[in-house]
């Protein structure tokens, strides 16, 4: 078999089961692809020797008849998942040299199934960003480069994961989504990105950004692969107090292809100024596709949708300022060089000034401000009340019989690297306008590639599901994937 790195997880699994290939061969194909992908800057810590050992063990397991769905499948891991003795920095200088002495539950679950670790993937520092430019490793470049030669973003924060999957460097990748960081990069790269219900996947060992919003999920080439990979990542975890006590169902079995009678809501508040005409047209077209497949499409209202973005940019920085207080130069990571007579406060202040990038510092300081005495009620508590109203909007929509909501993932296609105005951070925040709402409500969402824009860049549509109904959501997403028939791949230039 040739081009093994281009297989989907499902194809690779079936080929492994039939003995048509081995995990060692699959893994070598990915390592070769990664070695030639330096221009993308997607993989930032490669672990080829670890991968070869895991692949050999997976082959032995397949031979012994003990294979599980992810056995022998080579994957990439977003940098912020702690992997024992492998650099895990969340793309921050402040965690330079940090080697976790324990394993995140998500990666442990994958290794327990026999998945193969290829290395760590680039991201925005601590998940804060929409372009993977805020990284101590430098920006990831999207494999989608057009004839104009412009280097575009693969999105963020999971831009390394999305670029690696789109460029066939790995068969699937782990990612996390705090405000859209799985779905937006997937939409920008023509891949599938699934953010599960909050609590479905353990946060143990996932370097925290905003604890009430963070949730891990997969970025894959197909919806079926997302179902397979989520099944391996999700678990009930006593080490995470917010891990839900709900058994993990067989997501692949939920892919029946039958969506007749399902009710899809179209939120009228999402028709915002600044939405590209192409995306608006694609939105109508994809609604039509779901209708043709037997679903009922109805208009719904989410009246507080427009307040999701400002509420998010109060709550997420507030939680970040608390979570990131741990980086003090004492217990792990990088400590600034101190002068004679410098005390502990100088050590904290200089370590953090040198170790954090500008966007992370900005969010820590915004968070510090909104939590400070005198402003706590005006900003933080008000934002949490608005969050309750946003969740109520969704609760009411679902109570009225909606099965899922269809909306664009992003207001536009991928933008050029370096195009953001660094003096106006709010402009970059507007990228998250369609994705943050569901993080605030804790809901599952999936971005499915559905077409190319006039320039030839991929566009994604997002389905938002009922809490805990990832199976039903994946089934709808697969119906959309089938109807849209998106097969484009970026021509190789790297």
């Amino acid at each position: 078999m040739s081009d093994l790195n281009k297989l989907t997880i499902a194809e690779a699994r079936d080929a492994l089961a039939k003995g048509e290939t081995t995990s060692v061969e699959l893994t070598e194909a990915c390592i070769t692809a990664i070695d030639a992908s330096g221009a993308l800057n997607a993989f930032v810590h490669n672990t080829p020797e670890k991968a070869r050992g895991m692949a050999a063990a997976a082959d032995a397991r397949i031979k012994a008849g003990n294979a599980q769905p992810m056995t022998g499948i080579p994957v990439g891991v977003k940098d912020l998942f702690c992997v024992k003795d492998v650099p895990s920095q969340s793309a921050s200088r402040i965690l330079e040299g940090f080697l976790p002495q324990y394993e995140s539950t998500v990666t442990q679950n994958l290794w327990d199934q026999g998945a193969v670790m290829l290395g760590k993937l680039n991201q925005d520092e601590f998940g804060m960003g929409s372009s993977t430019e805020n990284s101590t490793y430098g920006a990831t470049v999207s494999p989608w480069k057009l004839e104009d030669g412009v280097a575009r973003t693969s999105g963020g924060s999971s831009g390394g994961s999305a670029a690696a999957v789109a460029a066939d460097l790995c068969l699937g990748a782990t990612a996390t989504d705090t405000g859209g960081s799985i779905r937006q990069p997937a939409a920008f790269t023509g891949t599938v990105g699934l953010r599960p219900t909050y609590g479905r996947v353990s946060r143990w060992g996932v370097i925290a950004y905003a604890s009430s919003l963070d949730q891990a999920g997969p970025i894959t080439k197909t919806v079926r692969d997302a179902a397979i990979m989520l099944g391996a990542m999700a678990s009930v975890d006593p080490k995470d107090s917010t891990s839900a006590e709900r058994p993990v169902p067989d997501y692949e079995a939920a892919l029946t292809g039958d969506i007749r009678g399902k009710k899809i809501g179209i939120p009228r508040e999402y028709r915002i100024d600044g939405l590209s005409d192409e995306i608006d047209a694609l939105w109508s077209k994809t609604a039509e596709m779901l209708r043709d497949a037997g679903a009922e499409v109805v208009d719904i209202s989410l009246p507080h949708a427009k307040y999701a973005l400002p509420a998010y940019y109060v709550i997420a920085p507030a939680e970040a300022s608390s979570n990131l207080a741990r980086y003090d130069g004492v217990r792990y990571g990088r400590r600034a060089k101190l002068g004679a007579g410098d005390g502990v406060v100088e050590m904290y202040e200089r370590t953090r000034a040198e170790g954090f990038g500008p966007e992370v510092k900005r969010r820590i300081m915004v968070g510090t401000y909104v939590l400070s005495a005198g402003f706590y009620d005006a900003y933080y508590n008000r934002a949490r009340k608005v969050r309750a109203l946003i969740k109520r909007d969704f609760d009411q929509a679902y109570a009225s019989g909606i099965d899922a909501i269809l909306a664009p993932t992003t207001p536009s296609a991928a933008f050029a690297l370096g195009s953001a105005d660094s003096s106006n951070p709010v402009e970059m925040y507007l990228n998250d306008v369609f994705t943050v709402t569901l993080n605030l409500a804790g809901l599952p969402g999936i971005s499915v590639p559905v077409g190319l824009n006039g320039q030839g860049l991929p566009l994604g549509m997002q389905l938002i599901g009922r809490p805990w109904d990832e199976g039903g959501l994946l089934n709808l997403a697969q119906a959309l994937e089938t109807a849209a028939g998106f097969t484009a791949k970026p021509p190789r230039w790297w």
Binding site: F98, P310, V330, R352
Partner: protein, 95 residues
């Protein structure tokens, strides 16, 4: 409300992030831009609404009150920038 340079300095100190005086005007301006964006929230009627604390009503998990982990001093200290004699070492804290 607008953040002054003095307030920006105070926030930076509360966050334990060193900021040069020369950078304070730009910082104050950025923070003001972000806070202005947040002020949209003032349009929302939140009377009688409880602040949301979690996405699902969930009882905090409980377990037996027993030791389940520990005796890993070497692992705990392994990533420390400066560890001595089984402790994390820091610059002098008390004069």
């Amino acid at each position: 409300m607008a953040i002054t340079q003095d307030e920006a300095r105070k926030v930076a100190h509360l966050a334990r992030i060193a900021v040069d005086d020369a950078d304070l005007p730009a910082l104050a301006q950025e923070l003001n831009g972000i806070l202005h964006f947040m002020e949209q929230l003032n349009e929302v009627d939140v009377d009688g609404i409880e602040p949301m604390t979690g996405v699902e009503p969930m009882r905090l998990k409980r377990r037996e009150d027993v030791v389940t982990d520990g005796e890993q001093q070497d692992l705990v200290l392994k990533n420390a920038p400066d560890a001595r004699e089984g402790f994390f070492a820091v610059p002098k804290v008390v004069e």
